[in-house]
Assembly symmetry: C2
Homo-oligomer: 246 residues x 2
Protein backbone atom coordinates (compact mmCIF):
# COMPACT_ATOMS: atom_id res chain seq x y z
CA UNK A 1 0.00 0.00 0.00
CA UNK A 2 1.40 3.37 -1.00
CA UNK A 3 0.20 6.71 0.39
CA UNK A 4 -0.01 9.34 -2.32
CA UNK A 5 -0.24 13.08 -1.94
CA UNK A 6 -2.34 14.71 -4.65
CA UNK A 7 -2.48 18.42 -5.47
CA UNK A 8 -5.83 19.22 -7.05
CA UNK A 9 -7.19 22.27 -8.88
CA UNK A 10 -10.94 22.62 -9.39
CA UNK A 11 -13.66 25.01 -10.41
CA UNK A 12 -16.24 24.64 -7.65
CA UNK A 13 -19.31 25.69 -9.65
CA UNK A 14 -20.71 22.27 -10.64
CA UNK A 15 -20.03 20.67 -7.25
CA UNK A 16 -21.78 20.51 -3.88
CA UNK A 17 -18.30 21.12 -2.46
CA UNK A 18 -15.21 19.02 -1.85
CA UNK A 19 -16.89 16.44 0.36
CA UNK A 20 -18.92 13.49 -0.88
CA UNK A 21 -22.65 14.26 -0.49
CA UNK A 22 -25.82 12.29 -1.03
CA UNK A 23 -27.56 15.18 -2.79
CA UNK A 24 -25.19 15.99 -5.64
CA UNK A 25 -21.74 15.73 -7.24
CA UNK A 26 -18.62 16.48 -5.24
CA UNK A 27 -14.95 16.79 -6.10
CA UNK A 28 -14.09 13.97 -3.67
CA UNK A 29 -16.53 11.62 -5.36
CA UNK A 30 -15.16 12.42 -8.83
CA UNK A 31 -11.56 11.80 -7.79
CA UNK A 32 -12.45 8.61 -5.89
CA UNK A 33 -14.43 7.36 -8.92
CA UNK A 34 -11.42 8.01 -11.18
CA UNK A 35 -9.15 6.07 -8.76
CA UNK A 36 -11.63 3.19 -8.76
CA UNK A 37 -11.71 3.10 -12.56
CA UNK A 38 -7.92 3.08 -12.61
CA UNK A 39 -7.21 0.59 -9.82
CA UNK A 40 -10.52 -1.16 -8.93
CA UNK A 41 -9.81 0.01 -5.36
CA UNK A 42 -12.45 1.75 -3.22
CA UNK A 43 -10.10 4.31 -1.70
CA UNK A 44 -11.03 7.36 0.36
CA UNK A 45 -9.40 10.66 -0.59
CA UNK A 46 -8.72 12.93 2.42
CA UNK A 47 -8.28 16.66 1.80
CA UNK A 48 -6.62 19.44 3.79
CA UNK A 49 -9.88 21.39 3.79
CA UNK A 50 -13.53 20.90 2.94
CA UNK A 51 -14.59 23.62 0.55
CA UNK A 52 -18.28 24.53 0.25
CA UNK A 53 -20.45 24.42 -2.82
CA UNK A 54 -19.17 26.84 -5.47
CA UNK A 55 -15.81 27.39 -3.77
CA UNK A 56 -12.75 26.79 -5.97
CA UNK A 57 -9.28 25.38 -5.32
CA UNK A 58 -6.05 26.49 -6.96
CA UNK A 59 -4.14 23.75 -5.15
CA UNK A 60 -6.01 21.54 -2.70
CA UNK A 61 -3.79 18.98 -0.97
CA UNK A 62 -5.15 15.49 -0.39
CA UNK A 63 -3.93 11.96 0.28
CA UNK A 64 -5.06 8.48 -0.68
CA UNK A 65 -3.77 4.95 -0.07
CA UNK A 66 -3.48 2.74 -3.17
CA UNK A 67 -2.38 -0.90 -3.21
CA UNK A 68 -1.65 -1.15 -6.92
CA UNK A 69 1.90 -0.23 -7.91
CA UNK A 70 1.94 2.96 -9.99
CA UNK A 71 4.39 5.66 -10.94
CA UNK A 72 3.61 9.24 -9.92
CA UNK A 73 3.39 10.31 -13.58
CA UNK A 74 1.05 7.42 -14.43
CA UNK A 75 -1.23 8.24 -11.48
CA UNK A 76 -1.39 11.97 -12.24
CA UNK A 77 -1.86 11.60 -16.01
CA UNK A 78 -4.26 8.65 -15.66
CA UNK A 79 -6.49 10.49 -13.19
CA UNK A 80 -6.48 13.60 -15.38
CA UNK A 81 -7.61 11.51 -18.35
CA UNK A 82 -10.42 9.98 -16.27
CA UNK A 83 -11.72 13.30 -14.82
CA UNK A 84 -11.31 15.25 -18.07
CA UNK A 85 -15.04 15.93 -18.51
CA UNK A 86 -15.09 17.66 -15.09
CA UNK A 87 -13.35 20.97 -14.19
CA UNK A 88 -10.85 19.07 -12.02
CA UNK A 89 -7.10 18.69 -12.63
CA UNK A 90 -4.49 16.71 -10.69
CA UNK A 91 -1.53 19.10 -10.68
CA UNK A 92 0.88 16.73 -8.93
CA UNK A 93 1.12 13.28 -7.36
CA UNK A 94 3.94 12.21 -5.06
CA UNK A 95 4.62 9.36 -2.62
CA UNK A 96 4.51 10.34 1.05
CA UNK A 97 5.14 8.51 4.33
CA UNK A 98 2.33 6.39 5.76
CA UNK A 99 1.85 8.79 8.66
CA UNK A 100 1.49 11.88 6.43
CA UNK A 101 -2.09 13.15 6.57
CA UNK A 102 -3.43 15.87 4.26
CA UNK A 103 -5.63 17.28 7.03
CA UNK A 104 -3.88 16.47 10.30
CA UNK A 105 -0.30 17.11 9.11
CA UNK A 106 -1.30 20.50 7.67
CA UNK A 107 0.16 23.43 9.62
CA UNK A 108 -1.15 26.29 7.48
CA UNK A 109 -3.88 27.11 5.00
CA UNK A 110 -4.08 29.97 2.54
CA UNK A 111 -7.22 31.29 0.88
CA UNK A 112 -7.68 33.99 -1.73
CA UNK A 113 -10.88 35.93 -2.33
CA UNK A 114 -11.53 37.87 -5.55
CA UNK A 115 -13.98 40.79 -5.76
CA UNK A 116 -14.78 42.31 -9.16
CA UNK A 117 -15.49 45.93 -8.29
CA UNK A 118 -17.02 47.63 -11.32
CA UNK A 119 -20.43 48.66 -12.52
CA UNK A 120 -20.78 45.93 -15.17
CA UNK A 121 -21.24 42.32 -14.08
CA UNK A 122 -18.50 39.80 -14.95
CA UNK A 123 -18.67 38.10 -18.36
CA UNK A 124 -15.41 36.15 -18.51
CA UNK A 125 -15.00 35.65 -14.75
CA UNK A 126 -18.65 34.85 -14.01
CA UNK A 127 -18.98 32.47 -11.04
CA UNK A 128 -15.35 32.97 -10.15
CA UNK A 129 -15.49 36.45 -8.59
CA UNK A 130 -17.90 38.26 -6.30
CA UNK A 131 -19.35 41.17 -8.24
CA UNK A 132 -19.73 44.36 -6.16
CA UNK A 133 -21.01 47.22 -8.33
CA UNK A 134 -20.66 50.01 -5.74
CA UNK A 135 -17.16 51.53 -5.47
CA UNK A 136 -15.09 49.95 -2.69
CA UNK A 137 -12.37 51.75 -0.72
CA UNK A 138 -9.62 49.11 -0.62
CA UNK A 139 -7.51 51.11 1.82
CA UNK A 140 -10.34 51.26 4.35
CA UNK A 141 -10.86 47.52 3.84
CA UNK A 142 -7.14 46.87 4.48
CA UNK A 143 -7.37 48.91 7.68
CA UNK A 144 -10.38 46.89 8.84
CA UNK A 145 -8.64 43.64 7.90
CA UNK A 146 -5.65 44.46 10.07
CA UNK A 147 -7.94 44.48 13.14
CA UNK A 148 -8.77 40.79 12.61
CA UNK A 149 -5.18 39.54 12.47
CA UNK A 150 -4.03 37.69 15.60
CA UNK A 151 -5.57 35.25 18.08
CA UNK A 152 -9.27 35.94 18.61
CA UNK A 153 -12.62 34.33 19.34
CA UNK A 154 -14.10 34.41 15.80
CA UNK A 155 -17.65 33.38 16.81
CA UNK A 156 -19.08 36.33 14.83
CA UNK A 157 -17.46 34.99 11.65
CA UNK A 158 -18.46 31.33 12.16
CA UNK A 159 -21.38 29.54 10.50
CA UNK A 160 -23.97 27.74 12.60
CA UNK A 161 -22.83 24.48 10.97
CA UNK A 162 -19.20 24.88 12.05
CA UNK A 163 -17.83 21.71 13.64
CA UNK A 164 -14.64 23.21 15.08
CA UNK A 165 -14.17 22.48 18.79
CA UNK A 166 -13.21 26.08 19.57
CA UNK A 167 -14.07 29.45 17.99
CA UNK A 168 -10.61 30.73 18.95
CA UNK A 169 -8.25 30.84 15.97
CA UNK A 170 -5.05 32.67 15.13
CA UNK A 171 -5.32 34.60 11.88
CA UNK A 172 -1.77 35.07 10.57
CA UNK A 173 -2.56 37.26 7.58
CA UNK A 174 -5.49 39.16 6.10
CA UNK A 175 -4.43 41.52 3.33
CA UNK A 176 -6.50 43.56 0.89
CA UNK A 177 -4.98 44.74 -2.40
CA UNK A 178 -6.58 46.48 -5.38
CA UNK A 179 -5.45 45.55 -8.91
CA UNK A 180 -7.49 47.60 -11.39
CA UNK A 181 -11.16 46.56 -11.16
CA UNK A 182 -10.30 43.66 -8.90
CA UNK A 183 -9.83 43.60 -5.12
CA UNK A 184 -8.01 40.55 -3.76
CA UNK A 185 -8.11 39.43 -0.15
CA UNK A 186 -5.37 37.01 0.98
CA UNK A 187 -5.96 35.07 4.22
CA UNK A 188 -3.61 32.69 6.04
CA UNK A 189 -4.01 30.73 9.28
CA UNK A 190 -3.24 27.31 10.72
CA UNK A 191 -6.96 26.59 10.28
CA UNK A 192 -10.21 28.49 9.72
CA UNK A 193 -13.75 28.20 11.05
CA UNK A 194 -16.55 27.28 8.63
CA UNK A 195 -17.44 30.38 6.56
CA UNK A 196 -14.76 32.43 8.34
CA UNK A 197 -13.10 33.82 5.20
CA UNK A 198 -16.42 34.58 3.49
CA UNK A 199 -17.76 36.23 6.65
CA UNK A 200 -14.65 38.36 7.10
CA UNK A 201 -14.72 39.39 3.42
CA UNK A 202 -18.42 40.26 3.63
CA UNK A 203 -17.77 42.61 6.55
CA UNK A 204 -14.75 44.12 4.82
CA UNK A 205 -16.96 44.88 1.80
CA UNK A 206 -19.30 46.80 4.14
CA UNK A 207 -16.28 48.83 5.20
CA UNK A 208 -15.29 49.31 1.55
CA UNK A 209 -18.75 50.66 0.72
CA UNK A 210 -18.65 53.02 3.69
CA UNK A 211 -21.55 51.32 5.49
CA UNK A 212 -19.16 50.39 8.27
CA UNK A 213 -16.11 52.21 9.58
CA UNK A 214 -12.93 50.13 9.84
CA UNK A 215 -13.31 50.15 13.63
CA UNK A 216 -16.75 48.50 13.29
CA UNK A 217 -14.85 45.33 12.35
CA UNK A 218 -13.44 45.25 15.88
CA UNK A 219 -16.90 45.86 17.34
CA UNK A 220 -18.26 42.92 15.34
CA UNK A 221 -15.36 40.69 16.41
CA UNK A 222 -15.74 41.60 20.07
CA UNK A 223 -19.49 40.92 19.99
CA UNK A 224 -18.68 37.18 19.61
CA UNK A 225 -22.16 36.82 18.16
CA UNK A 226 -23.15 35.65 14.68
CA UNK A 227 -25.91 38.29 14.73
CA UNK A 228 -23.19 40.97 14.64
CA UNK A 229 -22.08 39.74 11.20
CA UNK A 230 -22.56 42.34 8.48
CA UNK A 231 -22.64 40.09 5.43
CA UNK A 232 -21.44 36.65 4.35
CA UNK A 233 -19.70 36.92 0.96
CA UNK A 234 -20.80 34.42 -1.73
CA UNK A 235 -18.69 31.33 -2.55
CA UNK A 236 -17.95 32.52 -6.11
CA UNK A 237 -14.85 34.54 -5.23
CA UNK A 238 -13.27 32.08 -2.78
CA UNK A 239 -10.23 29.97 -3.69
CA UNK A 240 -8.42 27.45 -1.48
CA UNK A 241 -4.90 28.48 -2.48
CA UNK A 242 -2.42 26.35 -0.54
CA UNK A 243 -1.99 23.84 2.27
CA UNK A 244 1.32 24.09 4.10
CA UNK A 245 3.16 21.16 5.72
CA UNK A 246 6.27 20.97 7.94
CA UNK B 1 -30.42 59.66 -33.56
CA UNK B 2 -27.47 59.24 -31.21
CA UNK B 3 -24.35 57.25 -32.03
CA UNK B 4 -23.19 55.26 -29.00
CA UNK B 5 -19.83 53.67 -28.43
CA UNK B 6 -20.05 50.43 -26.44
CA UNK B 7 -17.17 48.60 -24.76
CA UNK B 8 -18.02 44.91 -24.48
CA UNK B 9 -16.46 42.00 -22.60
CA UNK B 10 -17.39 38.43 -23.54
CA UNK B 11 -16.46 34.83 -23.08
CA UNK B 12 -16.41 33.45 -26.62
CA UNK B 13 -17.13 29.82 -25.80
CA UNK B 14 -20.90 29.68 -26.40
CA UNK B 15 -20.79 31.84 -29.55
CA UNK B 16 -20.07 31.29 -33.25
CA UNK B 17 -18.02 34.49 -32.95
CA UNK B 18 -18.75 38.19 -32.84
CA UNK B 19 -20.60 38.37 -36.13
CA UNK B 20 -24.24 37.44 -36.65
CA UNK B 21 -24.46 33.97 -38.25
CA UNK B 22 -27.27 31.83 -39.56
CA UNK B 23 -25.92 28.68 -37.95
CA UNK B 24 -25.66 29.65 -34.29
CA UNK B 25 -25.57 32.32 -31.58
CA UNK B 26 -23.26 35.32 -31.89
CA UNK B 27 -22.32 38.16 -29.58
CA UNK B 28 -23.58 40.70 -32.13
CA UNK B 29 -27.00 39.03 -32.25
CA UNK B 30 -27.28 38.99 -28.44
CA UNK B 31 -26.40 42.68 -28.11
CA UNK B 32 -28.69 43.69 -30.99
CA UNK B 33 -31.53 41.65 -29.45
CA UNK B 34 -31.02 43.42 -26.11
CA UNK B 35 -31.11 46.82 -27.86
CA UNK B 36 -34.32 45.80 -29.62
CA UNK B 37 -35.94 44.74 -26.33
CA UNK B 38 -34.92 48.05 -24.79
CA UNK B 39 -35.80 50.43 -27.64
CA UNK B 40 -37.89 48.47 -30.19
CA UNK B 41 -35.26 49.59 -32.73
CA UNK B 42 -33.63 47.17 -35.18
CA UNK B 43 -30.13 48.61 -34.89
CA UNK B 44 -26.92 47.13 -36.26
CA UNK B 45 -23.95 46.99 -33.89
CA UNK B 46 -20.59 47.49 -35.65
CA UNK B 47 -17.45 46.22 -33.91
CA UNK B 48 -13.76 47.08 -34.25
CA UNK B 49 -12.99 43.45 -35.03
CA UNK B 50 -14.76 40.21 -35.83
CA UNK B 51 -13.61 37.54 -33.43
CA UNK B 52 -13.94 33.87 -34.40
CA UNK B 53 -15.86 31.17 -32.60
CA UNK B 54 -14.44 30.59 -29.13
CA UNK B 55 -12.34 33.80 -29.12
CA UNK B 56 -12.89 36.10 -26.14
CA UNK B 57 -12.90 39.88 -25.71
CA UNK B 58 -11.68 41.82 -22.70
CA UNK B 59 -12.83 45.09 -24.26
CA UNK B 60 -14.33 45.01 -27.76
CA UNK B 61 -15.27 48.45 -29.08
CA UNK B 62 -18.48 48.81 -31.05
CA UNK B 63 -20.96 51.47 -32.12
CA UNK B 64 -24.69 51.62 -32.67
CA UNK B 65 -27.19 54.34 -33.65
CA UNK B 66 -30.25 54.64 -31.40
CA UNK B 67 -33.15 57.07 -31.92
CA UNK B 68 -34.63 56.78 -28.44
CA UNK B 69 -33.23 59.25 -25.91
CA UNK B 70 -31.24 57.45 -23.21
CA UNK B 71 -28.57 58.26 -20.67
CA UNK B 72 -25.25 56.40 -20.92
CA UNK B 73 -25.84 54.79 -17.51
CA UNK B 74 -29.33 53.68 -18.48
CA UNK B 75 -28.10 52.16 -21.74
CA UNK B 76 -25.19 50.30 -20.13
CA UNK B 77 -27.12 49.01 -17.11
CA UNK B 78 -30.22 48.19 -19.15
CA UNK B 79 -28.28 46.18 -21.71
CA UNK B 80 -26.43 44.35 -18.94
CA UNK B 81 -29.74 43.38 -17.34
CA UNK B 82 -31.05 42.11 -20.70
CA UNK B 83 -27.95 40.03 -21.59
CA UNK B 84 -27.43 38.71 -18.08
CA UNK B 85 -28.01 35.05 -18.98
CA UNK B 86 -25.16 35.24 -21.52
CA UNK B 87 -21.43 35.70 -20.72
CA UNK B 88 -21.52 39.24 -22.15
CA UNK B 89 -21.05 42.50 -20.23
CA UNK B 90 -21.28 46.10 -21.43
CA UNK B 91 -18.37 47.74 -19.63
CA UNK B 92 -19.08 51.26 -20.86
CA UNK B 93 -21.41 53.31 -23.07
CA UNK B 94 -20.64 56.83 -24.28
CA UNK B 95 -21.98 59.23 -26.91
CA UNK B 96 -19.70 59.73 -29.91
CA UNK B 97 -19.83 61.90 -33.05
CA UNK B 98 -21.92 60.69 -35.98
CA UNK B 99 -18.77 60.08 -38.06
CA UNK B 100 -17.09 57.94 -35.41
CA UNK B 101 -16.92 54.32 -36.60
CA UNK B 102 -15.82 51.44 -34.37
CA UNK B 103 -14.12 49.68 -37.27
CA UNK B 104 -13.03 52.43 -39.67
CA UNK B 105 -11.94 54.99 -37.04
CA UNK B 106 -9.84 52.36 -35.25
CA UNK B 107 -6.09 52.98 -35.62
CA UNK B 108 -4.79 50.11 -33.49
CA UNK B 109 -5.81 46.72 -32.16
CA UNK B 110 -4.31 44.73 -29.30
CA UNK B 111 -4.71 41.00 -28.75
CA UNK B 112 -3.50 38.81 -25.91
CA UNK B 113 -2.92 35.07 -26.13
CA UNK B 114 -2.68 32.85 -23.03
CA UNK B 115 -0.89 29.48 -23.03
CA UNK B 116 -1.12 27.24 -19.94
CA UNK B 117 2.18 25.38 -20.00
CA UNK B 118 2.06 22.56 -17.50
CA UNK B 119 1.53 18.82 -17.51
CA UNK B 120 -2.01 18.92 -16.05
CA UNK B 121 -4.87 20.26 -18.16
CA UNK B 122 -6.66 23.43 -17.00
CA UNK B 123 -9.53 23.04 -14.55
CA UNK B 124 -10.40 26.63 -13.64
CA UNK B 125 -9.23 28.21 -16.93
CA UNK B 126 -10.66 25.54 -19.23
CA UNK B 127 -11.64 26.98 -22.62
CA UNK B 128 -9.84 30.21 -21.83
CA UNK B 129 -6.23 29.13 -22.31
CA UNK B 130 -4.41 26.91 -24.79
CA UNK B 131 -3.04 23.95 -22.86
CA UNK B 132 0.45 22.89 -23.98
CA UNK B 133 1.75 20.05 -21.80
CA UNK B 134 5.30 19.91 -23.20
CA UNK B 135 7.71 22.45 -21.65
CA UNK B 136 8.02 25.64 -23.70
CA UNK B 137 11.14 27.82 -23.86
CA UNK B 138 9.62 31.32 -23.57
CA UNK B 139 12.94 33.03 -24.33
CA UNK B 140 13.27 31.19 -27.65
CA UNK B 141 9.64 32.10 -28.40
CA UNK B 142 10.38 35.77 -27.67
CA UNK B 143 13.36 35.64 -30.03
CA UNK B 144 11.21 34.12 -32.77
CA UNK B 145 8.47 36.70 -32.13
CA UNK B 146 10.89 39.59 -32.63
CA UNK B 147 11.48 38.39 -36.22
CA UNK B 148 7.81 39.01 -37.08
CA UNK B 149 7.66 42.62 -35.87
CA UNK B 150 7.57 45.21 -38.67
CA UNK B 151 6.02 45.54 -42.11
CA UNK B 152 5.80 42.16 -43.86
CA UNK B 153 3.75 40.07 -46.26
CA UNK B 154 2.02 37.78 -43.72
CA UNK B 155 0.52 35.35 -46.29
CA UNK B 156 1.91 32.37 -44.33
CA UNK B 157 -0.07 33.47 -41.27
CA UNK B 158 -3.35 34.21 -43.09
CA UNK B 159 -6.38 31.92 -43.28
CA UNK B 160 -7.85 30.93 -46.62
CA UNK B 161 -11.05 32.82 -45.64
CA UNK B 162 -9.23 36.12 -45.02
CA UNK B 163 -11.02 39.04 -46.72
CA UNK B 164 -8.24 41.60 -46.34
CA UNK B 165 -7.27 43.32 -49.61
CA UNK B 166 -3.56 42.94 -48.95
CA UNK B 167 -1.48 40.40 -46.97
CA UNK B 168 1.00 43.18 -46.12
CA UNK B 169 0.58 44.39 -42.52
CA UNK B 170 2.73 46.22 -40.01
CA UNK B 171 3.07 44.31 -36.74
CA UNK B 172 3.95 46.86 -34.07
CA UNK B 173 4.48 44.50 -31.17
CA UNK B 174 4.73 40.76 -30.51
CA UNK B 175 6.01 40.00 -27.03
CA UNK B 176 6.24 36.71 -25.15
CA UNK B 177 6.41 36.66 -21.34
CA UNK B 178 6.31 33.75 -18.91
CA UNK B 179 4.42 34.15 -15.60
CA UNK B 180 4.66 30.88 -13.67
CA UNK B 181 2.82 28.15 -15.59
CA UNK B 182 1.41 30.70 -18.03
CA UNK B 183 2.99 32.15 -21.17
CA UNK B 184 1.37 35.33 -22.48
CA UNK B 185 1.78 36.68 -25.99
CA UNK B 186 0.88 40.35 -26.56
CA UNK B 187 0.29 41.49 -30.15
CA UNK B 188 -0.41 44.99 -31.46
CA UNK B 189 -0.97 46.32 -34.99
CA UNK B 190 -3.19 48.73 -36.87
CA UNK B 191 -5.02 45.65 -38.14
CA UNK B 192 -4.50 41.91 -38.43
CA UNK B 193 -5.21 39.30 -41.08
CA UNK B 194 -7.75 36.55 -40.32
CA UNK B 195 -6.11 33.94 -38.02
CA UNK B 196 -2.87 35.97 -37.96
CA UNK B 197 -2.43 36.00 -34.18
CA UNK B 198 -3.36 32.32 -33.78
CA UNK B 199 -1.04 31.36 -36.64
CA UNK B 200 1.87 33.35 -35.22
CA UNK B 201 1.30 31.87 -31.74
CA UNK B 202 1.11 28.34 -33.18
CA UNK B 203 4.50 28.75 -34.86
CA UNK B 204 5.99 30.33 -31.71
CA UNK B 205 4.84 27.26 -29.75
CA UNK B 206 6.78 25.08 -32.21
CA UNK B 207 9.82 27.20 -31.41
CA UNK B 208 9.08 26.86 -27.67
CA UNK B 209 8.96 23.07 -27.95
CA UNK B 210 12.24 23.01 -29.89
CA UNK B 211 10.64 21.64 -33.07
CA UNK B 212 11.59 24.88 -34.81
CA UNK B 213 14.56 27.17 -34.26
CA UNK B 214 13.70 30.88 -33.78
CA UNK B 215 15.11 31.56 -37.26
CA UNK B 216 12.58 29.11 -38.78
CA UNK B 217 9.96 31.79 -38.05
CA UNK B 218 11.70 34.01 -40.61
CA UNK B 219 11.84 31.15 -43.11
CA UNK B 220 8.09 30.59 -42.67
CA UNK B 221 7.37 34.32 -43.06
CA UNK B 222 9.53 34.61 -46.18
CA UNK B 223 7.85 31.58 -47.78
CA UNK B 224 4.66 33.68 -48.15
CA UNK B 225 2.80 30.38 -48.35
CA UNK B 226 0.11 29.04 -46.00
CA UNK B 227 1.68 25.59 -46.43
CA UNK B 228 4.76 26.87 -44.56
CA UNK B 229 2.63 27.38 -41.43
CA UNK B 230 3.69 25.17 -38.53
CA UNK B 231 0.49 25.18 -36.50
CA UNK B 232 -2.61 27.32 -35.98
CA UNK B 233 -3.21 27.83 -32.24
CA UNK B 234 -6.78 27.15 -30.98
CA UNK B 235 -9.21 30.01 -30.26
CA UNK B 236 -9.37 29.21 -26.52
CA UNK B 237 -6.39 31.37 -25.51
CA UNK B 238 -7.13 34.40 -27.71
CA UNK B 239 -8.51 37.66 -26.29
CA UNK B 240 -9.34 40.86 -28.17
CA UNK B 241 -7.83 43.25 -25.63
CA UNK B 242 -8.26 46.80 -26.93
CA UNK B 243 -9.23 48.94 -29.90
CA UNK B 244 -7.36 52.24 -30.11
CA UNK B 245 -8.78 55.48 -31.59
CA UNK B 246 -7.20 58.88 -32.36
Amino acid sequence: MTRWRLTIEYDGRPFMGWQRQDNGPSVQQQVEAAIFRMTSELATVHAAGRTDSGVHALAMSAHVDIARTLSADRLRDGLNALVRTEPIAILAASEVDDDWHARFSCIGRRYEYRILNRRAPPAIERGRVWHVAAPLDAEAMAEGASLLVGRHDFTTFRSAQCQSQSPVKTLDRLEVVRDGDEIRVAAAARSFLHHQVRSMVGCLAMVGRGQWKPADIRTALEARDRAALGLNAPPDGLYFAEAIYP
